[in-house]
Amino acid sequence: MKKKLISAPYIIWMAVFIVVPLMMVAYFAFTDGDGNFTLDYIANVAQYTNIFVRSIWLAAIATVICLIIAYPASFILATMDKKHQSTMIMIVMLPMWMNFLLRTYAWMTLLGNNGIINRALGLIGLGPYKLLNTQGAVVLGMVYNYLPYMILPLYSVIVKIDKMLLEAAQDLGCNSRKVLFKVVFPLSLPGVMSGITMVFVPAISTFIISRMLGGGSNLLIGDLIEMQFLGNSYNPNLGAGISLVLMVIVLLIMTIMNQFDSDDEDRVLI
């Protein structure tokens, strides 16, 4: 039996619905409305440099915060009593199962000027602070939505670290801080790397979080793309140009992150 043939339907599917669409994005990015070749749109992307900068910046902050929060959490989870571990993982992952629009909406109601947080602060005589419609709120939304994506890979790497190694390090005279930095951290690096990509990529391209929590004045790349296709300034060619640049940025980040990984050949990301 020719076993290879059985994958033919999907190979065709991939060609039509993965490769061709990406080529269409490139086609739109390099042509104008009448189909003539032009570099204008790609060049025009430079106009929106500040949006790219802001997106990269906010996504980077969110990623770092996620890493800082998630690392101890994954460590605690991984070293927990085996009996409770799976339950605890489930509890941590559970919010991720709610639709992200609802989760983000929840923060909208919490952060408002008359929201619960400001009311609670008001009771102890503070505030009200401007929490909603700020860049801080956007970062918070990213952290809240993507934190589980950081915890999961970290946890699965740390839990696999041989406990004997830690004991051996201690026997050889490392204090617990040294064990953490010289043994655990280097061994968990692949998890850190895949966690970073899993948070950074969706964070940089999100388009709802900034609209809901950022008040529409902190546009991110995702919002910009959406505006060109279905929003207030219809211009699909420019939108395709921006998408193309975004894709290149993401691919670059992925290749860099991949470099840190071991040479495991058909290891797949995520």
């Binding site: 500040n50 419609n133 008040g215 670059l252």
Partner: protein
């Protein structure tokens, strides 16, 4: 684990109880419900049992949905004609345009505003209506027929009209209504409490009025000046929104918002702390009309829907629920005097004549310029960053990956020896 179980028991309790409540509430609602009478029911029966459905694309909060004892328009239509209605919503004219122009979605009914109608006519996106199928067109007042945007009324049937004004929180703003004008939206006293239109046309119109230009100016200099004005306002703006203002104004999150008069009426009904001012320096007068786009699959059923929307009872339910002014004579007659004279919905002819401007479709160049400036305005930040950041960022990424690759290759070599 136990706690979660308790939680589950609780929620299941909730559901069983809500089931009980269900019947109870229905009994309550039976009083003073509006009922529908149409002149000619047979007229609507043509498509019954043919399994037809139409796709209606309307503004958010722009149809009576059966609350407040008013008619549920779409449900009544289905009941009367047997035609299913797939109803979805958009927030701005520009969104509607993008969805029609760039998307493969086919709609049978859309409700654009006047300037968008003339743009769509110009670009061949609308179908001519067959008025034999819309006898209720006679209900429309003559002064709303044959307007500039659609001379001879070939493409559109007026749905609602209204003006733009300023919604404000009367507990926070202690200024007499007649003194409120557009410049209050630039007042630093209200920084972070101002909401602003999230669509270019309405936002630019305000800035242009304030600068003393026409709302329909195509002069690039004037458009650019208006963009500067909007940029100046940006630090004061809490957020750029459309229908979110219902929530934000209602909950007291913001104190000032320019918006459509009809929605102001709705909000004022619900909240005492909200007032509405129609600026003396002039404002925009808009007409939203029912149209059928080129991509429509069921033109005749769509015309039936348009005719249905012009039924006095339906137009009355619409105008009562959404608060926008009606062009429908019969429905207008049914309204309470209180509504007719609230000073918001039906402004006197003198004001409408002298102080309002109707948008016209601008040239493609002016449209493009406005859109570009709008995006630019929305994306600027107070501290402009260097243009080179992204290229440098990308370059350093490339260099870093090359470096790692080389290092790896060298390591491999070492391993071999």
């Amino acid at each position: 684990m136990k706690k979660i179980l308790y939680f589950l028991v609780l929620t299941s309790l909730v559901f069983s109880m809500s089931g009980c409540r269900l019947q109870h509430i229905n009994e309550d609602e039976d009083e003073e419900v509006q009922t529908l009478t149409v002149e000619n029911p047979e007229f609507y029966g043509r498509f019954r049992d043919k399994g037809i459905s139409i796709n209606v694309y309307n503004w958010g909060e722009y149809i009576s949905d059966g609350s407040d004892g008013l008619l549920d328009v779409n449900a009544e239509f289905t009941k009367l004609t047997g035609i299913q209605v797939n109803y979805s919503t958009y927030a701005t004219n520009e969104e509607l345009y993008a969805k029609l122009k760039g998307g493969g979605a086919s709609y049978d009914i859309i409700i654009p505003s006047e300037y968008m109608i003339s743009r769509m006519i110009k670009e061949g996106m609308l179908q001519k209506l067959n008025f034999d199928n819309i006898p209720n067109f006679k209900n429309i007042m003559d002064k709303f027929k044959d307007k500039d945007y659609d001379r001879g009324n070939q493409y559109s049937v007026p749905y609602t009209w209204g003006t733009v004004g300023i919604l404000y929180d009367n507990t926070a703003i202690d200024i007499p209504e007649e003194d409120i004008d557009w410049d209050i939206l630039w007042d630093e006293k209200y920084a972070d409490s101002i909401l602003m239109f999230d669509n270019p046309r309405d936002a630019f119109a305000i800035a242009e009025t304030l600068l003393g230009y026409s709302m329909n100016t195509e002069n690039p200099k004037e458009i650019k000046a208006a963009a500067e004005k909007l940029k100046e306002q940006k630090p004061l703006v809490q957020s750029y929104v459309m229908d979110e203002i219902f929530d934000k104004m209602g909950a007291g999150e913001a104190v000032l918002a320019p918006y459509y008069a009809g929605d102001a009426v709705t909000l004022m009904d619900e909240y005492d702390h909200i007032s509405f001012a129609t600026p003396k320096s002039g404002t925009n007068l808009f007409f939203d009309s029912l149209c059928i786009p080129k991509s429509a699959q069921n033109k005749e059923a769509a015309e039936l829907y348009i005719n249905f929307m012009c039924e006095p009872d339906i137009a009355y339910a619409t105008t009562s629920y959404i608060g926008y002014s009606t062009p429908n004579e019969a429905a207008f007659e049914m309204l309470d005097d209180e509504v007719k004279e609230n000073g918001i919905s039906y402004l006197d002819d003198e004001y409408l004549e002298n102080h309002t401007t109707v948008f016209v479709n601008m040239s493609d160049d002016a449209n493009r310029l406005m859109q570009d400036l709008w995006t630019e305005m929305k994306s600027t930040q107070d501290n402009e960053k260097n243009k080179w950041v992204v290229p440098i960022f990308m370059l350093s990424c490339i260099l870093l990956s090359i470096f790692i690759l080389i290092r790896r290759a060298m390591k491999k070599k070492k391993d071999i020896f």
